[in-house]
Symmetry: C3
Subunit: 289 residues, 3 copies
């Protein structure tokens, strides 16, 4: 019995998800289906790719069917991507590669032919689900379409995550002049793009703990958190309740990335950020404890 995971932007109000379940079960009656999410915002390929990539590693061996596909019915390719620890099925628009990387990297890919007479707006049901069911039922992905160059798959640009010199003029000048090594170290910031905001309003950024450490930020310390011209502070803790209710905490989240939360509140609202925004984190020098 195979397993198929399923992620889309179809929402839960229509019968679209069920129609795909139906197609899967008609082609592979014993398949086990795990719905990852169907609430990806309409057409938000990046958000879909993030949710998919951060989930597949926790699932049993599976065919991962993912459809966030604003280009449905156009010439964008329909893919089956094979990785060492799973197979992915979906459009060639950047949705699949991050998850394929989690599963060991793209080893091979085929482009599915779109059968004549198929409606141009529901390839999830009519193209991708039948292919996923075929693979789950044991068919060789290579038999489903034409081989394509794994290096030629569409990939989204990686999110920003880098060390930068603090924009604070005095510190930056000291760092650049190199007159004071300590001041220079202190002046380094981690600049990181918001990868995603979860249901609680927790803000995950593209940095990991190592990046923070290389900029002198240590667990237990107070950090400086800047978004544009707006600056606040947060304890570098381990969980939501590392700080008092309504306070901001920086922690390493369950996906291994740096995140910010407000205990019993929403960090996304507090910081007024959304996916794609840039945060700058640094060791908080003038730390009012």
């Amino acid at each position: 019995m195979g397993c198929v995971s399923f992620l889309t932007d179809y929402g839960l109000g229509d019968g679209f998800v069920a129609a795909c379940h139906g197609v899967l079960l008609r082609h592979a009656p014993d398949v086990r289906i795990i719905d990852i999410s169907h609430l990806v915002p309409a057409g938000d390929v990046r958000r879909g790719s993030v949710v998919l990539a951060q989930t597949v590693g926790h699932l049993p061996p599976a065919v991962h069917l993912a459809v966030v596909d604003p280009g449905v019915g156009t010439s964008r390719r329909a893919l089956v991507v094979s990785a060492p620890r799973g197979v992915l099925v979906g459009p060639d628009n950047g949705l699949l590669p991050p998850a394929a990387d989690v599963l060991g990297g793209v080893r091979a890919a085929v482009a599915l032919a779109v059968p004549d007479g198929v409606p141009a707006t529901f390839h999830g049901r009519d193209v991708f689900a039948p292919a996923a069911a075929a693979v789950a039922a044991g068919r060789d992905p290579a038999a489903l379409g034409e081989q394509v160059d794994p290096g030629g798959l569409v990939r989204l640009p990686p999110p920003v995550a880098r060390l930068v010199v603090d924009a604070d003029p005095a510190a930056a000048a000291a760092a650049e002049a190199g007159v004071n090594a300590a001041a220079a170290a202190v002046a380094v910031e981690a600049e990181a793009e918001v990868v995603t905001v979860d249901t609680y309003g927790n803000v995950q950024v593209a940095a990991d703990a190592a990046l923070l450490a290389s900029a002198g930020m240590r667990p237990g310390h107070l950090l400086r958190v800047a978004v544009g011209a707006s600056v606040t502070t947060a304890v570098f803790g381990v969980t939501f309740a590392s700080v008092a209710p309504d306070e901001l905490v920086v922690y390493v989240d369950s996906a291994g990335l740096v995140a910010l939360a407000v205990n019993r509140g929403s960090a996304a609202r507090r910081l007024a950020v959304t996916a794609g925004d840039l945060l700058r984190l640094s060791a908080g020098r003038p730390a009012p404890s």
Copy 2:
């Protein structure tokens, strides 16, 4: 192992759906459940009937349990409806017949007795789910209640879909006078009721491609789209990306009906329409390309 599909207006925030799953599994432990949707707006029988009818054809052979039931606990009948390609269980309020038609038409129907002592507000759990489980487990629907006349089931009025003479006075006059056949042909509009609006804001109307063709509308042409006194134009394309982002497109959707979408946007918002509203489509004469 039988299959039960399940559609309600119960929402996903309470335990109502799970309680019904529990009843199904207690009565039929090996049944496969496919949730169609539980986000039908509260009491919106017409919306429920549309989602159900447009989904059942894509599912494996199944018992379709559907409960949108504002009259629960009153004298409205509780039905098991048999069709050539499936069985439907739910209230006699118009919810089931369109899906039964998709499955080959109502062949027989029985009215379920409501057991004494059952709460008057949760027949999904206490009346319908046990009946669906019984049929899924192999029981003959005829044994579950009293035969009722298939012709006597409550049916909602069908949505409007017709050809009309254009309200434009000059064109209408020409058409009525019959002085100019070409003008008359041009003056014909397809008037169609909005059947449903999906999660993307795509607007599905009760017309099919043949109705548009009979009013002179051809794929690739620019169409005139009128809602009340408000008029706009749209390309008759094949998919969302047949037009530039933020532009309106008319297409034949995956259910075989005419629909309107805004590429990467919401046609329902653009046109300010909702289910039940009337649209008028016609071949766009003064077509600014």
Copy 3:
């Protein structure tokens, strides 16, 4: 094949629920999963406990995995609670005991050890789901952790449900003076806390039919409904359509508790109440029929 029910405040937009499904299926491949709800408001332990307690009784024998856990990663205990008719797994914060009571009462409980190196923010995936899978796969809960005193589990205070003397000065005075037994009886009110508001806006309170009867309220009668200084009336009916559309009805709901609904509307909006608010119900003396 075991059965696991699953309730959280994870929402449906992220991959959190699926990651837990994945863990369950990796540890117990044949387990049947019933999702109760994942839309418990973030951190709302009381709401989670109500939905869980009102659902488990309708499910097959199961391990009930429930995670609404604002204290994740702190010293709050992680529990496996055994009851005569089921096992519950989740945090020691009041979430589980009401459901355990429905399943026959807490017979034994163990505290799970949190493995080293586990992220501090996703015990649903890393601590609770593996424990639930182990029990579903046949492991003895007692083998999973250290026995703890069942009497020492955190419990939320029970909701208010009591008879009180009417706040109406004249009636209260009569009742207190005891000069008029009939007046005194009439002056008794049932004061009850709102337990929960469902997806329809139906308002469930902590009273049962017996409490209403002991305050002289009978089915079919008109009741007085007070919230703070605001007073209205409602028929004591049996279902939503016991009253005309847009009218308020009091009834005994499918969980056996007194509830208020507006036929085809929202009682929560009409009464402007939410969970935790107090309602006062009494036999309606000056009853304009």
